[in-house]
Symmetry: C2
DNA sequence: AAATACATTAAAATCATTCTAATCTGTTGA
DNA sequence: TCAACAGATTAGAATGATTTTAATGTATTT
């Protein structure tokens, strides 16, 4: 079977074989020029609405995990019962709107570079994320 | 019944009545000069080891939630199956050691103040948190 | 001290996530 | 090309944190 090589590469580089289900997941995540925030549940819903193929939860989870590990997706650090992922893997930050449980991007240029003076022996910094919680201003 | 007024106030200000169980939770959380990070499970374990009273999970959850809401505790924004709380409510940040699933404080003085230029109409910033993920440096 | 409002509890329910084990499909090497 | 194998898919079960329930208990108010 032959797939869009763009997605085939992404999958292979993430340690996954290209399959019909995974290509569909790629289409949903990477087809658009727009980046977005999603939960696993969101993703399953979009696939169900868009596609005529059925993809099981287990497949969605393992594919998203592999992309996250490889760096094609980023998990956003917030406390929520569900994990949020971001298709925008460039360096940027987030507002989390606590009234509506919604994430809003903050462009890198809108935050001064975060400099951390403390170091931990034997450890290196993998990522730095800023989360600003916002609420209705009364 | 008469309790340490320090804890009684904390509880009442959080909208809770002082009870034997809740006072015990306060003792564990606020008795020490040291601040610490904990999960609900940790807290229950400490209470079981230290005290001769039994406190149900439901009571621990509702008490911790009330303190968090009031601001006597802070929930730390990381993706983990469990929620992490911090008894240090002063403005500071965290490393999250991904190898050991452990949080490490970063003093406010070790991070330049984070300035966010973007604003969202009708919303105000409630908190700004920096999470720096660290891993073994090879 | 009675009446009320809130608290406590064990157990059940919920919900995201992970695991399982049976079946299926890409992939590889002859 | 095609058999054999490694890895993928799936529904459903298992797990584990958190929330809810509903019966009973306790602090509070009058």
């Amino acid at each position: 079977m032959i797939y869009d090589p763009k997605y085939e590469n992404k999958l292979r580089e993430s340690g996954l074989r290209p399959t019909k289900q995974r290509i569909k997941i790629c289409e949903v995540l990477f087809n658009s020029t727009e980046t977005f925030h999603f939960t696993i549940k969101d993703l399953v819903k979009i696939i169900e609405n868009q596609a005529n193929i059925k993809v099981s939860l287990a497949t969605v989870y393992n594919t998203v995990h592999a992309f996250n590990k490889k760096g094609y997706l980023k998990e956003i650090p917030i406390n929520s019962s569900q994990s949020y992922y971001d298709t925008n893997i460039s360096h940027h930050h987030h507002f989390f709107d606590e009234d509506e449980n919604k994430l809003i991007d903050i462009d890198q240029n809108d935050v001064d570079e975060v400099m951390i003076k403390k170091t931990i022996p034997g450890k290196k910094i993998k990522s730095i994320e800023v989360i600003a919680k916002i609420v209705t201003d009364n």
